[in-house]
Symmetry: C2
Subunit: 341 residues, 2 copies
């Protein structure tokens, strides 16, 4: 049952004015990511039950040994293990040439036990590397980061069921779904046009039937544009740039920023903030994601989602081949429930 | 020297209010397309002079024998001949299977004398065809229609110098350039999100540094959105939908619509109009494209532009290979002027 406070917030989110002045509902990325991971865990168990011994496979390819990359990779491997994904870590030395990196990718592309292949960026090599070429060598069918041109093209032209969606914007959509605010017909504003956040975020909101405005560093009237957003997604990379008084009352505010600012009260001398000034935005938004603990945890969860989705497609294809050959080898029932969502 | 009327229109286009009330400057697609074709003709002559006997090659692949397709193909072949492009027309019968179409495309992909390959849509075959798969079989390096996922992905992520831009939105940008209104920092509104007009138009305006809003059939407040546009591009497919009183004073209005409406004063009983109500829009816009004679003629011109661009890239690559092998076979001078623009 919905509480009165919850109801009031939802009315505000739906654009109703004059409701009791309360703070926004904070949409927790930790909680939402946990729900996604739990759902995937159940699905992977079901896959293993029906397709005896089957496990979705993920491979993380790293070049070099950057500390930050090592941290990110550990967190991906941990999440995969928890869900039941068979995750491998392939580290090439920083002396690897581009040709060696490409050869490794081509070899993993051929490996039927790997359903998702990601190349950890940035590449830490003493040799010249073309990240664009390397990213585009990953088979589009295994590109669970959604960074290849082919996946970007499909997403930008609305073929959402036939591509991999980049993990951060996919996570933002999952957070928006948690608010139960419908996207269709709303005015969404995206700040930023990067390949991994802003540009695919525009595509996702557009193909969810929002009217979408993309703003960026050359937008002269940012506060005015933001003030028209029912849904605002910020991936600008500037600490606390968006102020509360810019916002439309009751807006859904998704903050993709991760910025370090000085803070003498902390032992480290700094703290992490988003691109939105939380304290003031919280007074005006209907829903808001915190930093940290908002979009951040979603990125790894959606990488797992994409990996399981890739395994699901692989099983569907195998099943189709089996049906064509009239020779079922699958264990368990024959109705393919495991492949439905 | 700019006339007083021209100056007044430009002031209006720049957003200055209170100028003398005059009609918009009509931006002619016929005239602009002619300028593009003349420029290409000179460039192709120069290519032939420097690279003895070289001609850009275009191949139009048709399946079946639709009357409208035949008309469009004739107009492409005529434009190509005028410019000096070596254009071929390959027609497969309507009994062709998809496998045969794919084999033809793969064979043309390998032909070094063809720099641009387009598949005339719709495919007129008695057999089932997957246009998406057929379009994506065209080599991205020869996809001068810019319809493959790879080219769409590059465009949507801002890699404009490494892709082919679909011809209609590319033509719209050329028309906008004719107005000398700068795009950067302006608010552009695109109506429509189709693969060949709206979606790539958004990308082009965005990467020209406009703040871009995409509207579509699910946009509830279209007149209000349109009223904020300094630059408006309409690809909605609805006759005279955009009314003059929706427009911001002085806006640049580009109309991609081609609609037939009844007209008893015409022998045919109908006439062609755009998606914009020209008579009223003309009273309020700073610049406007007519229908017919606006965007229409630009599409073929930009197909020629893409074909010449593809040939230019081919020559640049050959030149690089030659330099690597220290074996020049090219006629004329060795400075590669032909490849610069």
């Amino acid at each position: 049952m919905m509480s009165l406070v919850g109801l009031s917030l939802r009315l505000r989110a739906a654009g109703c004015q004059g409701s009791t002045r309360t703070v926004a509902t904070v949409v927790s990325g930790h909680k939402t990511a946990r729900l996604v991971r739990q759902r995937l865990q159940v699905e992977v168990q079901e896959m293993r039950r029906v397709w005896s011994g089957f496990r979705p496979g993920l491979l993380v390819l790293q070049v070099g040994n950057r500390d930050d990359s090592n941290l990110y990779i550990s967190s991906k491997l941990r999440a995969a293990a928890e869900i039941g994904i068979d995750a491998k870590h392939l580290r090439l030395p920083d002396s690897a040439t581009q040709e060696q990196v490409l050869q490794s990718i081509l070899s993993v592309n051929q490996d039927p036990s790997v359903h998702g292949l990601i190349v950890q960026l940035p590449l830490d090599s003493v040799n010249p590397m073309d990240p664009e070429r390397i990213t585009n060598t990953v088979s589009p069918e295994k590109d669970v980061d959604g960074l290849s041109c082919i996946n970007a093209g499909k997403l930008s032209r609305g073929d959402l069921n036939d591509c991999f969606i980049p993990c951060t914007p996919n996570g933002c959509m999952e957070l928006i779904r948690q608010t139960v605010v419908s996207v269709a017909g709303k005015h969404a504003v995206v700040i930023g046009r990067s390949k991994i956040v802003g540009a695919p975020m525009h595509d996702l909101l557009l193909w969810s039937d929002a009217t979408v405005t993309t703003c960026h560093s050359k937008t002269p009237d940012l506060p005015e544009q933001v003030g028209r957003a029912d849904i605002l997604v910020v991936g600008a990379g500037r600490a606390e740039m968006v102020r509360g008084d810019w916002l439309k009352e009751g807006a859904v505010v998704i903050d993709c920023g991760i910025n370090h600012i000085p803070d003498v009260t902390k032992v480290s001398g700094k703290r992490v903030v988003g691109d939105v000034h939380f304290a003031s935005a919280n007074q005006r938004a209907g829903f808001i994601t915190p930093v940290p603990g908002g979009v951040g945890p979603m990125t790894v969860a959606m990488l797992m989602e994409n990996t399981v989705q890739s395994a699901r497609r692989f099983l569907l294809k195998s099943q189709a081949v089996e049906v064509n050959h009239a020779g079922f080898h699958r264990h368990g029932n024959r109705n393919g429930e495991v492949n439905r969502k």
